[in-house]
């Protein structure tokens, strides 16, 4: 998150003033000396570099099959080029827009509801005077974070079972009937988003609580002297203090607008809610690994990644202009 923003900026600044040839040579010699002296540290980095190269950079080479007709006999390099065929095929299929719409709506609701709740929770917890109650609430609300997706989905299906699910039982008096929530596509987004909030709101609040702990107590004391209520102090002291954190996290979150919790969506899917629950990532999985349409699947995945990357850059630039906080 703090990704080298300062070192990078410094470097670009230090490069600007023109150096005399002697200075340049001296700098080069110094770099060389440091590299020689610290060779051990490069050895420390070697395993990570190898790992990242194999698992993150080698796949980038494979992206070219999005523009080829991949044939495992011919290999990645040997398969024939087909240009934009797979992209055209995707955008000409009626399915494309449904997938994009489903992905965006799931993501949009996740941000709309899932993003503010941890902030509100952190502000409430931070204003508590009773340390023990605060600790207790934190311990409890972090707990669901450690539950695996498989278990969470198992719980959701059991709780929403029309025959025995307790949520259905609790809602029955209000809705007048026992609704099969998992069997109706229109409830899918709500199930996904609300269960996400249940699982991760507490954990998500930690980062804001950490930021709030940096607020100077003197600010609060001065405000109390001036007669500000606790509620007012939240708005005028606490909230402004965490705005940079909020912006950075929002940028990060928007950068993955086209990414949804893939595992969870896949596990929550059933034939009845597929109209709403089929998203780009689950579709690429099915297409690629279940139907072995490697090239087509890679093309759709690439489209998704590129859009994500562009959104991240745009949002970051926007955030920088607006507030001076940015990722890089």
């Amino acid at each position: 998150m703090e990704i080298a923003k300062k070192p990078l900026r410094k470097k670009s600044l230090s490069k600007k003033p023109k150096l005399t040839p002697e200075q340049k040579a001296a700098q080069k010699a110094k770099t060389k000396l440091l590299m020689k002296k610290n060779w051990m540290l490069y050895l420390f980095l070697l395993p990570v570099v190898i790992y990242i190269f194999i698992f993150n950079y080698l796949p980038l080479y494979g992206i070219q099959i999005a523009f080829k007709n991949f044939n495992s006999g011919l290999g990645i390099w040997g398969s024939p080029w087909v240009g934009m065929q797979w992209f055209e095929m995707f955008f000409n299929s009626p399915r494309a827009w449904t997938l994009i719409k489903n992905t965006l709506s799931l993501s949009f609701f996740s941000i709309l509801i899932g993003f503010p709740i941890p902030i509100i929770l952190a502000l409430m917890l931070n204003s508590l005077k009773n340390e023990r109650f605060k600790k207790f609430t934190q311990t409890i609300t972090y707990m669901p974070h450690f539950i695996s997706v498989v278990v969470l989905v198992g719980m959701i299906t059991a709780f929403l079972s029309p025959r025995s699910g307790f949520i259905v039982t609790l809602l029955e008096p209000f809705l007048g009937e026992r609704i099969y929530f998992m069997g109706d596509a229109k409830y899918f987004d709500a199930i996904y988003v609300l269960s996400n909030v249940w699982q991760s709101a507490g954990w998500g609040s930690i980062i804001y609580i950490a930021a709030l702990s940096g607020v100077s107590p003197e600010l609060h004391e001065a405000a109390i002297m001036d007669g500000a209520t606790r509620f007012k102090r939240i708005f005028y002291i606490d909230l402004p203090a965490i705005v940079p954190t909020i912006i950075i996290l929002l940028v990060l979150r928007c950068g993955s607008l086209m990414t949804v919790g893939f595992e969870k969506v896949l596990l929550l899917q059933n034939n009845l809610n597929l109209a709403q629950s089929e998203v780009i990532s689950t579709y690429t999985y099915k297409l690629g690994l279940l139907q072995s349409q490697y090239s087509y699947s890679t093309a759709i995945g690439l489209f998704n990644n590129v859009i994500n990357f562009i959104i991240l850059i745009l949002v970051n630039r926007f955030a920088k202009k607006l507030s001076g906080s940015s990722l890089w």
């Binding site: 934190q138 311990t139 972090y142 695996s148 930690i206």
Partner: protein, 300 residues
């Protein structure tokens, strides 16, 4: 912390109302978070008949342990447990051994080109080859379906390396390293005898991050493993949880009915059995988890 001083001042009426509202909201939040977990526990040892009819809400009815008995008889679960422990322990050791030295090296300001390495690592956080190209790489390097892959895949994360780097650069002063260097201390000596002993908190945090992630991993094992004897617990769990029992060979309707009734209780039981280790150690390690996020947050 921030409110320690305001204790002395009497709350105004507005503040009293404010606190009352906050306590009420938080109490509701607590109930919403705890109840589903509580329900799973209660349902797991209640009589299947009551569980199935949805009659259980607050207290167990007709306490029985048949669900657990059935679970303990299931060899798949034991095998899954065994595999998951291998993947979790192996992955944690591997991840730490690779990430801690790397994070340390990246924290050193006197390392030329560390910015380049950092940029290369960070790029992978935002752009990836995608599912199929990664799958093809795994296939081509011959790790498909191996336990080794399960141990190494996903245990090295750039995010963790950044956390480690932040920890080292904020907790080990440059002066300390410089003076050790003047005294003739080599890089590896400094790392093993000074930096490592000082970094216990971050080691704990990263170890726990990796272990929990490995314990809960589902997708990678699902696509890369085909041999069910290597399945981790989560895959076994999914099999059991997704069971509908309509496909079983039992033709006797009464036996089938009984099996269906049992199924629900077994589901709740396996949830408990599989989550127990994580839930049990969680309160003990909670302070470390929070610390880990803090390191990242304060730096960011």
């Amino acid at each position: 912390m921030t409110q320690a001083n305001s204790n002395k001042i009497k709350d105004s009426k507005a503040d009293k109302i404010f606190y009352a509202i906050i306590y009420i909201i938080l109490a509701i939040v607590l109930v919403i978070v705890i109840y589903p977990l509580y329900f799973v526990v209660v349902a797991s040892f209640s009589d299947p008949v009551y569980v199935n009819s949805g009659e259980i809400l607050l207290f167990p009815k007709g306490v029985t342990f048949v669900g657990y008995q059935k679970i303990l008889e299931d060899t798949r679960i034991w095998q899954g447990y065994f595999n998951t422990i291998i993947y979790a322990v192996g992955g944690t050791v591997f991840g730490l051994a690779v990430c801690i030295p790397a994070g340390y090296a990246l924290s050193r300001k006197d390392l030329p080109y560390r910015g380049v390495v950092m940029a290369l690592l960070v790029f992978t956080m935002y752009f990836s080859g995608g599912l199929i190209p990664t799958y093809l790489v795994v296939h081509n390097i011959g790790l498909m379906g191996t336990r080794i892959l399960m141990i190494i895949m996903g245990t090295i994360s750039v995010y963790n390396i950044i956390l480690i780097r932040s920890f080292f650069s904020s907790s080990i002063p440059t002066e300390l390293q410089e003076s050790a260097e003047i005294d003739g201390c080599s890089n590896e000596k400094f790392f093993t005898s000074i930096a490592l002993p000082l970094s216990k908190p971050i080691i704990a945090v990263i170890a726990l991050y990796i272990a929990v992630a490995q314990w809960n991993a589902y997708f990678a094992p699902m696509i890369y493993l085909s041999d069910s004897s290597k399945y981790p617990l989560q895959l076994v769990l999914r099999e059991i949880l997704a069971q509908t029992n309509t496909g079983t060979e039992i033709t006797d309707p009464e036996a089938l009915e009984q099996l269906n009734t049992m199924a629900e209780v077994i589901k709740y039981g396996v949830i408990i059995v599989s989550s127990l280790p994580v839930i049990c150690i969680y309160p003990l390690i909670q302070k470390y988890f929070v610390k880990g996020v803090m390191v990242g947050a304060l730096k960011g």
